[in-house]
């Protein structure tokens, strides 16, 4: 029995900021001070507030420590764990409240507005302990499904809950299962898509790292519902921590007889295997993923036949995303009505978003569907840093579009976002402020899809490349208005002529930025000017002769000797020689150099 629990975040975010060292330091220090019988040190999954990592939470008082270093650990142990005095200087201060000291997690703006279903165990339990998962009600849903429900009842419950696929397309999960269940075959498969490939998205990684058993339990339930005995989790090799914890979790579940033969003595058999993806974006697409599991080159294939009829190894299969699965045990335990009571009419439940970009609270948030974008950006995210003005948010990664500032009050759900040409996608949200050039953003995502196109369809393979060339022309200031028309035309052509989701959605960032920020494109083309001051070819660095003191610092740092001038006389930049590296501007002590 322990009187206090110290939870150290072991998610990827906190691991990269030194969370493992902090965990080791706690283990050592607690032992050194003779408290190891009283204090439990637990490594958990992601708490969500990655920007403030490494994060440590001490229970029962739920004190939230941020940015803890191994050197701080002896103080926390001797002061807080032994004497009960919080170490004030390390307690998390809420940036949205002018640095008020926050005593516990639930007091922060970041957590107050969240509703955690898929993430309910992330940061609370030790993901490497099946006992802790069971302690929160884990595997009870599987027990309930196997002993009290028929497969049809399970499917009906998922259908009634209104759960839609969290991977991006938003297809009703129950319907997917229902379409697969009646198909007869000697073997069926349950697959899990953990090939999270959108730049800036890390929801699935955090679920796998923080609560791997929830996915395993849900897949077994899905197997029972559709009549499958074998499952595959397709996880990208870039997620080493997630893979390790999944392996441990699968082994523990087998040992407890929760995977394997005759589960709960009901005669139901189900087992799971991992397949590691090599990091190709296209393998997040349903048919390409299954082709890749089969050991072939990951390329999509035409549908129909849909995977529900002919999927993995030519057998009826279902594929759901990690976050979708993480909702399933809760739906089975609490009922369809409970889940359907959250969210909007056509989008039920909650959604996890990965907040990134120009936002104070970078991290992971889970909110009910239909929450206004303003709540996510301003209240939970804390707004843009340094008082900059919020410009737009990119959702759905390279397949999605941007939501400009004028739509900040839009309720976030599948249909509302679709109405303005955007998608929820897997849940990445990249926030942009006034310093971001929208043409540059479109270029960034297109560069990604050009790289990641599998090359099967000409429209996608060559079309996206031509689009990128036009975008480069625009940002170089060499484009005409005709090019812009061509770019739009090409966008629709690529969408219409590609086989899979990658090509069908690749032009979305371009279409959406042209739709909402046409003025920025036109400024680049007509005025040869980048309004945000990002596109280097359109920038000129100039020295203000009034402010310049002639200190020669800029002339000395310039790598191409483009700056000339006498000592104590105003200097001049030779625009033809300037490579626009910006070194002079950051060197100048008198604020005399500006971008125009």
């Amino acid at each position: 029995m322990y009187r206090s629990h110290v939870l150290v975040c072991g998610g990827t975010g906190c691991t990269s900021s030194g969370g493992v060292e902090v965990y080791n330091a706690f283990e050592k220090e607690v032992k050194a001070q003779g408290l190891d019988k009283e204090i439990a040190v637990v490594q958990t999954g992601c708490h969500g507030l990655c920007a403030e990592g490494p994060v440590v939470v001490v229970y029962p008082d739920a004190t939230f420590y941020a940015r803890v270093s191994p050197q701080d650990v002896p103080e926390i142990v001797s002061e807080h764990l032994l004497k009960g005095r919080q170490v004030e200087r390390l307690v998390y201060k809420d940036p949205t409240k002018d640095g008020d000291v926050i005593r516990s997690l639930s007091d922060t703006e970041f957590y107050k507005k969240q509703v955690r279903v898929a993430l309910r165990n992330c940061g609370v339990i030790n993901p490497e302990s099946i006992d802790e998962y069971i302690g929160t009600g884990g595997y009870e849903a599987l027990g309930k499904a196997l002993t009290e429900m028929t497969p049809d009842e399970v499917i009906q419950t998922v259908l009634d809950s209104g759960l839609r696929g969290r991977g991006g397309a938003g297809f009703p999960t129950g319907l997917k299962w229902k379409l697969c269940a009646p198909n007869q075959a000697d073997q069926k498969y349950v697959c899990c898509n953990a090939d999270e490939g959108d730049p800036g998205a890390f929801m699935d990684r955090s679920v796998l790292e923080g609560d791997p058993h929830s996915v395993i339990e849900a897949m077994a339930i899905a197997g029972y519902a559709i009549g499958a005995t074998q499952g595959y989790i397709y996880v990208r090799a870039e997620y080493p921590i997630a893979i390790q914890r999944l392996r441990i979790a699968i082994d523990q579940a087998r040992e407890y007889g929760l995977l394997g033969e005759n589960i709960f003595d009901t005669g139901f058999n189900f087992d799971l295997d991992l397949r590691l993806g090599a990091g190709a974006f296209v393998c997040g697409e349903e048919t390409a993923l299954m082709t890749s599991i089969e050991g072939k080159r990951g390329e999509p294939r035409p549908r129909p036949p849909f995977p529900a009829v002919k999927g993995l190894f030519g057998k009826p299969s279902i594929l759901n995303n990690v976050e979708t699965y993480a909702n399933i045990p809760q739906i089975i335990l609490n009922g369809a009505d409970w889940f359907a009571s959250m969210g909007t009419e056509k989008s039920k439940g909650t959604k996890v978003f990965a907040l990134g970009g120009k936002i104070k609270n970078t991290g992971l948030v889970e909110i009910p569907m239909g929450t206004p974008l303003r709540t996510i950006i301003e209240d939970i995210g804390g707004g843009c840093p340094n008082g900059k003005k919020f410009k737009a948010v990119q959702t759905g990664g390279p397949s999605g579009g941007c939501i400009p500032a004028e739509y900040i009050d839009i309720p976030v759900d599948y249909d509302n976002l679709a109405s303005i040409g955007c998608i929820i996608g897997s849940g990445g949200m990249i926030v942009m402020d006034e310093d971001n050039c929208m043409v540059d953003i479109a270029k960034f995502f297109l560069e990604f899809t050009v790289d990641e196109s599998c090359g099967k369809c000409t429209a996608c393979r060559i079309g996206t490349r031509r689009m990128l060339e036009i975008l480069n022309k625009i940002t170089d200031g060499k484009a005409t208005m005709e090019d812009l028309d061509k770019l739009e035309q090409l966008s629709y052509y690529v969408k219409a002529n590609s086989l899979c989701g990658l090509g069908q959605t690749a032009p979305n960032p371009v279409i959406s930025t042209i739709k909402f920020f046409r003025d920025e494109y036109e400024a680049h083309i007509k005025e040869k000017r980048c309004p945000a001051g990002v596109c280097k070819a359109l920038l000129n660095f100039v020295i203000d002769p009034v402010k310049c003191k002639g200190c020669t610092a800029c002339a000395r740092i310039c790598p191409v000797n483009a700056i000339t001038g006498e000592l104590k006389e105003p200097h001049v930049i030779d625009q033809s020689a300037c490579i626009k590296c910006g070194s002079c501007m950051s060197t100048c002590k008198f604020d005399a150099i500006s971008k125009r």
Binding site: R3, G84, V124, I134, T136, G138, F264
Partner: protein, 127 residues
């Protein structure tokens, strides 16, 4: 594991551990605070704290009773001090505690609802 009963057994064992990590906490929960400053520790507060924390978990009460520690309360000569905060009731301060007394307080006061007058502040004659 082959039965739901076995699953339930593990759950019951683990639940009280996990309950400690509940974020919001029950508003009606009783808060028990043990003085764990240098004076408290020197007077033997640690066994008191551990006894309370262990017994609360053993009896499956961790969702109703929260055991934490605090710094110096200021009455060092009366340590180990245990304060009980019950919602809607006046704070009760127990003084010169030890593990056995703590056990008695748990049974009679925290579970039974009767303040153990023999060990409270008033018993010292302090006004």
């Amino acid at each position: 594991m082959k039965s739901l009963a076995e699953l339930k057994a593990i759950r019951d064992k683990m639940q009280n551990q996990i309950n400690m990590r509940s974020e919001s906490g029950d508003e009606n929960a009783i808060r028990v605070v043990v003085g764990m400053a240098t004076c408290g520790i020197a007077a033997g507060a640690r066994p008191v704290l551990n006894e309370l924390a262990d017994k609360v978990q053993e009896k499956g009460l961790s969702d109703k009773i929260v055991v934490t520690q605090t710094g110096c309360i200021g009455l060092c000569q009366y340590e180990p001090i245990v304060e009980v905060y019950e919602p809607g009731k006046e704070k009760v301060t127990y003084i010169k505690m030890n593990a056995e007394k703590a056990d008695e307080v748990l049974t009679r006061h925290l579970i039974g609802g009767h303040v153990v007058d023999d060990y409270t502040m008033g018993s010292s004659g302090l006004k």
